[in-house]
Amino acid sequence: MSQHRQGGARTVPRRASEPTIEVMRDFGAPPPSPPRRRPSLLVPLVVGAGVAVALGVYGRTHTPTGIAVNVAGFSSPLTVKVWLGTGAAFFAVIQLLSALAMWGRLGGFSPSWAGAAHRWSGRIAFLLTVPVAVHCLYALGFADYDTRTLLHSLLGCFFFGAFATKMLTLPKRGLAGWVLPTVGGAVFVALIGVFLTSSVWYFTTFGIQF
């Protein structure tokens, strides 16, 4: 215990008064004072970049088939994707809120289940995006007809790269305090960008359809 106290205020949640030690251990954020060797982010970043580029190259070189497997119960493949994407965006918002709670940025609201909520909403959001991405890549490909489709294609590739980086970064211990929020923020921004350039565009163009 005494060692903990010597560690002083942790950088991670600035409001150090709360007893959030369990949560903080998950992140393994070390006290800032002892100059310890930080783990390298090279591998996650390289793999993430590789994933993003590989998806883009595949989407560009593969001839779009116009056809891919579909989920029953919707009027068209597009509405399936639109709603899966909306679901992913919904869980992404939960991601943001639960992350803020974990890091003590929602005032005093930092429940013990925030970490679990963050992990599971993230898993669900990611799995919801996979069928959409497969359909996009297989049936449509990397497109640049206009700003929207180009932006959507770029952000879509970037999202999966950023997500891979995030997942490979998480297990590392002793990261600087800004690393996970930055990578997570990039994933969130990418997903919301993808959502805006697809589902929101669809809803505003064609109305809400199932």
């Binding site: 998950d26 593969h62 001839t63 088939t65 116009g66 898993r123 990611f126 890549l137």
Partner: protein, 264 residues
Amino acid sequence: MKRLTPLLTLLSGAVTAAVLFTMSAQASPPGTQPAAGGGAPAAAPAPPADAAADADAEADPDAAAPDEEPSDADARRPAGTSPPTDPDSSSAGTEVTSVEQNWIGELENGATIAITVKDGKAEAYVCDGRSMELWLSGTVRDGKIELTGKDAKLTGVIRGDRASGEMIVGVRRWKFTARPDDTSTDEAVVKSGSGTAPAIYRVTDETRKAGFDGGWIMLPDGTQIGIVTWNGKPIPAPPLDPAFNSTVVDGVTLVAEPVIPGAR
């Protein structure tokens, strides 16, 4: 264990993607069902092999490979499987969906007209490739053409290998002339009337429910003319991909099907 969960998340996503890719690769050829018989031998061995490759790659402890592997493997797969099935699907399509005769011609105002006939029933599509389009249906019997469409009526006669008449739309009236689609009529004669390839294509009902419409005329010289209704406005249609009867407009895939008189 906790350190592994993010990797498990990645892994499950990669496996899901691999499964969906495999299903898609198998689903695309049978989209034109008759092709399954000819296309299957070429297509079938590939997906399982790749799925196995994916599984192997994902068993690697380092977890860097798995996420890239599926996309690499899948990049190879469609390249390997699609080309052999293309001829199958298109030729099978013409056998199953055939019409008796196509008449293709011009209106006075420069628009293209195509009339497709089967068992005395006829469907026609008139479009100028830019902004004007019209769907008509009716009959072609005993050398007389009688078609009606929305606020439109088309009448004509067939003399020899020439059809002519007029189309009235609202208060406007245009004359038209049309000739049989040469290439396919020759074929029909050779095949003793087994039918010719459809000349008119329209987006599927399903696509139309989603708010798009589009029509195409396959001209005898191999080119196409068509219009897609996009956000309520007609725009020139990009050509249909003959292998899949589909085209991509503004990132959205439109799937078309041949218009067969009497089919609806």
